[in-house]
């Protein structure tokens, strides 16, 4: 759970928005402000943005599957690590069953899609899904990026 009560932790910044793709740019702005405040460099910011954008897109596309809903974002810094949680009330799934994408075949055998989870795993150091009656919670950590 959030470690914002530890002495080395920052304040938690939160954003709650409709689960609609048009809001992804607002999420990016929010992350950008948060990261700048924590002196997170531009490369790490880009990687965080990519992971969060993919995660939010999956909530919109798969968890809510076009139905109206909300995405709750919470992010903070603790001991130099960037943490973010995405919380939704959509359907659950089993992340273990998502196959890794084919990254080497010729173009005509490549799937269109199936890259989002791969991007999240590559961009972040830790990814943890918790599904509970209060909602689905994805916790991602990027280590050693904040000062």
């Amino acid at each position: 759970m959030s470690t914002d009560s530890s002495p080395a932790a920052s304040a938690v910044h939160e954003l709650i928005l409709p689960a609609e793709a048009a809001w992804l740019a607002t999420v990016a702005d929010f992350l950008c402000s948060c990261c700048a405040g924590w002196q997170i460099d531009e490369d790490a910011q880009f990687e965080i943005q990519l992971a969060v954008d993919e995660a939010a897109t999956n909530v919109i596309t798969h968890a809510y599957a076009g139905q109206p809903g909300r995405i709750h974002l919470r992010c903070w810094v603790a001991d130099g690590d960037f943490h973010i949680e995405l919380i939704d009330q959509g359907r659950t799934f089993d992340p273990e069953t998502v196959p890794p994408p084919d990254l080497t075949g010729p173009l005509d055998t490549r799937r269109e899609g199936g890259l989002g989870m791969h991007f999240m795993r590559q961009m972040m150091d830790e990814i943890d899904f918790v599904f509970s009656p209060t909602g689905n919670r994805l916790h991602m950590i990027k280590r050693g990026v904040a000062s």
């Binding site: 992804l24 740019a25 990016a28 880009f46 954008d53 897109t57 919109i60 173009l107 005509d108 890259l115």
Partner: protein, 118 residues
């Protein structure tokens, strides 16, 4: 200040190919606009496409999905069309690399070279 998410998709028909100049943030919302623009071009029978990516600040897997499906359609035509990239920034290159797409798209330093390749 942010208003609505905006991308710019500029299209120019050349003699041997169609050149698109892209700018802005291509996430799963705006990738749809790109998809529509490219689809219209395919529907019109143009299968030699160049995307000038110089202005693309950001691109997620949703935009890659569009590039992949468009490139497939181009290549499967009888005369062998293609979708080629120009002026790919380090950020966009990083996303292509992550997806293992770096070797699958022909990519040129400049727009002129990409257009000239058809």
């Amino acid at each position: 200040m942010t208003t609505q998410p905006t991308v710019v998709i500029h299209k120019k028909e050349m003699k041997r190919c169609v050149l698109f100049t892209l700018a802005g943030r291509f996430d799963s919302s705006t990738a749809r606009q790109l998809e529509e623009a490219l689809q219209l071009t395919l529907n019109a029978g143009h299968f030699n496409l160049v995307l000038n990516m110089a202005g693309v600040e950001y691109m997620s897997s949703a935009a890659l999905r569009v590039l992949i499906s468009t490139a497939k359609e181009c290549r499967k035509t009888l005369n062998g069309g293609d979708l080629r990239l120009a002026a790919v920034s380090p950020r966009v290159q990083q996303v292509l690399d992550l997806a293992g797409l770096d070797t699958l798209f022909q990519s040129f330093e400049s727009e002129v070279e990409a257009v000239g390749s058809f």
